[in-house]
Symmetry: C2
Subunit: 444 residues, 2 copies
């Protein structure tokens, strides 16, 4: 049993951290289900040809091989999924006949990427995806609805405040077409690098793509526009570019911004440099940054796509985003920004007077559990001081004592001890389950 050491890139939480993660995942589940999204879990593996359809990410795939694979069976071309979009697309095609459309699903699972580990980059991590997919056509209003659902979830999470940055591919593509770009996709890709390489390099690249000086300047001016309300539209129009697709994109983005300004004021901004590299987005695109953790990049991204999947006859357009749960939690644990009030679900530890009396303590515990109170019995009839320490070390707030004169329960935080009846006593509601608190963060 030598060589027990953590594997770099494969995070594992301690019990009190896992309680925070459970709270985060249950919050997402609760909000998503309130909005009628169904849970989906897909298998962890996909055929390699499915995984490589997107092209760019092939180097990150973990391949599988049965240890005792037989001759000829060899490598059947299975790999671990690196996101939840590829398996979702495959699932929709495979089960379309059994699904009702529009299909609203959330999916919270581990994904794996064979990357070189580095701070904030994991090889195994949990993603939480949410998508609405329809058959043939997807109504635009879902592009308005989706960010509102996600912002509602973020507001309920014990995370720092989040701002969602939103753009629209039609707006960008129409604009680039309007300034005379031959290949709008290449312009988009150049602008997508703005934050990384700066405006001078982007400008040079736009000129290389054949744009005039004025056109390149207009593209950079467009990328600078950001606003928490519909005022961005006038600023775009002031750049003097006209194109029907641009108008359509402007109108769509205004609708998203106005709905969010009403439902979640200040949480969503139009940000016209958001490009999202991947080619398959066709409408609204979303990115989300956490205040004070801008260096993490977007922790919740996605957009509208016209073809999640297609079997030749039918196409499935959709809109969705993915939250990088592990990446956020890893950061918040490291900075001590979020904590559980205790390391166990237990609210009450029932003391044991004597090993021969364990049954009496068990009966008290059963009575408390019967009324929904998480309860443990002390593992040994040690001195009470030791039994109290057992509770204290785990953050269990109450210890229950049995005596011939009657039962009593002690609050370890205040030291108060009161008479109590196992058939009637309950802790205050806030002590029933571990609570999650956010703390001032230490500077990065």
């Amino acid at each position: 049993m030598a060589r027990i050491a953590p594997l770099s890139g494969f995070p594992e939480w301690l019990p009190q951290e896992r309680i925070v993660e459970q709270h985060v995942l249950e919050t997402l589940q609760r909000v998503y289900e309130l909005h009628g999204f169904s849970s989906l879990e897909t298998r962890a593996v996909e055929p390699l040809d499915q995984l490589l359809r997107k092209g760019e990410i092939d180097k990150e795939v973990y391949l599988l091989r049965r240890m005792q694979a037989e001759e000829g069976e060899g490598d059947k071309g299975l790999g671990l999924h690196f996101d939840l979009t590829v398996p979702f697309a495959r699932y929709v095609l495979e089960r379309a006949g059994h699904l009702e459309f529009p299909y609203r699903r959330y999916q919270i699972q581990k994904v794996w990427r064979g990357e070189r580990p580095q701070e904030g980059r994991y090889r195994e991590f949990t993603q939480a995806d949410i998508d609405i997919v329809d058959r043939d056509e997807l109504a635009f209003h879902h592009e308005v609805e989706l960010p509102l659902v996600v912002l509602e979830a973020f507001a309920a999470l014990p995370f720092p405040a989040a701002t969602m940055h939103v753009n629209n591919r039609k707006l960008a593509e129409g604009f680039y077409r309007g300034v005379g770009a031959a290949d709008t996709a290449l312009v988009l890709r150049a602008v997508d690098k703005l934050d990384k390489v700066g405006p001078d390099k982007v400008r040079a690249q736009l000129l290389e793509l054949g744009l005039t000086d004025a056109a390149a300047d207009a593209c950079l001016a467009l990328a600078e526009i950001t606003a928490p309300d519909a005022s961005f539209a006038e600023r775009v129009q002031a750049l003097g570019v006209t194109d029907p697709l641009l108008d359509e994109g402007l109108e769509e983005l205004v609708r998203v911004i106005e709905a969010a300004a009403a439902a979640a004021p200040g949480r969503l901004v139009a940000d016209l440099k958001i490009a999202r590299g991947l080619d398959y987005y066709t409408g609204t695109v979303y990115e989300t940054v956490l205040h004070g953790h801008e260096d993490l990049g977007s922790v919740c991204s996605g957009g509208r796509y016209d073809a999640l999947a297609s079997d030749g006859k039918t196409t499935y357009p959709g809109v969705g985003v993915s939250i990088g749960v592990s990446r956020v939690l890893g950061r918040l644990f490291r900075t001590g920004a979020v904590q559980a009030s205790r390391a166990v679900p237990t609210a009450v530890l029932v003391a044991v007077n004597d090993e021969a009396d364990r049954t009496a303590s068990n009966q008290v515990a059963a009575a408390l559990r019967g009324r929904g109170i998480p309860t443990e019995v002390a593992p040994s009839a040690a001195k009470f001081g030791k039994q109290i320490k057992h509770a204290d070390r785990r953050g269990i707030p109450y210890v229950w004592f049995l005596s011939d004169e009657g039962h009593s329960v002690k609050d370890l935080r205040t030291g108060d001890q009161v008479a109590a009846d196992p058939a009637a006593w309950s802790p205050p509601a806030q002590d029933l389950r571990p609570t999650i608190s956010r703390h001032e963060e230490t500077p990065q």
Copy 2:
């Protein structure tokens, strides 16, 4: 996008099946947390040398390789875990300094085995494990406690009735020693095959191991003993074998049986043929069969072990069992034995009068959600008949209508339509979430 087909051995549930699975996993979580068990999730991968420690299962391991592994990096010897015991043991050793002992944990995760797929054998499946592990010594009372927790969970699950069969390794080993067996482990392994090969072949094998005719008969007679109460002890004693370890095992098994007879009458039986092949069990051993599904074998197995893990200085003894969740669900779905009342979490669909009025419907939905009622808004302002059909196909019980004369809500099952206020109306509690029902099973 050709070749979309299920992968044999990798089950995926439909939305209404997933709702049943969620209910099952949430029930396990609720019961386990009531008893003070903490959730643990470990990474999916382990170093190969960890996975192969047990010896027997090497052929079932899925190995991982980064697709673009570099020269010399090669195969770092990582594989997917095939159970939750190996990663738990590794986690306990790795994090012992951060854990409080006895450490009570449950762990619900996928595991992978590269087996040839066949009915009821999966390559990817969900296991739900529960263990209590201590440092150096583990008190015997945990062997009494653990099956009571698990039986409480089974009683809350929408599964057919379960019976737990229990034996004790000390009892068996002491007995075999008492009849003069030279190697009690080999006798145990021979008796373990009783159900598979029958008594004649087991008897022949026992004679080959050097047992006398009388000793072999005694071993077979022991294996025939089963009882729902402590009466089994007299029947063992009537076989006339004496050994101190046998006495210890008898006393322990009596304590387990008597506690279960009081807490969960009729759900646990002493069954002295239960052997559990693996060598590491040292005390009580558990197996569980579902009534009407005996052919599935044990769906919940485990026992007491004296060395889950050891780092040379410290040893971690424990007791635990593992529930084969996917195997049970796969069977119950196939026979139609268990069903969710609807395929979505949604309780209410809010109709849309006109696409221009969608905001009014959104506001009703927000009011209902604000009071915890899962609500969707109709995806299109189609004819009401079509909107009702949309709800009906998903099993959504209520449709909400807005009109200038006031709001109303229709129960699609009864056809009743009543006036309703979005700030006040609630569905009956049993309609708030999907409910799970058990059905008469079709014969196998």
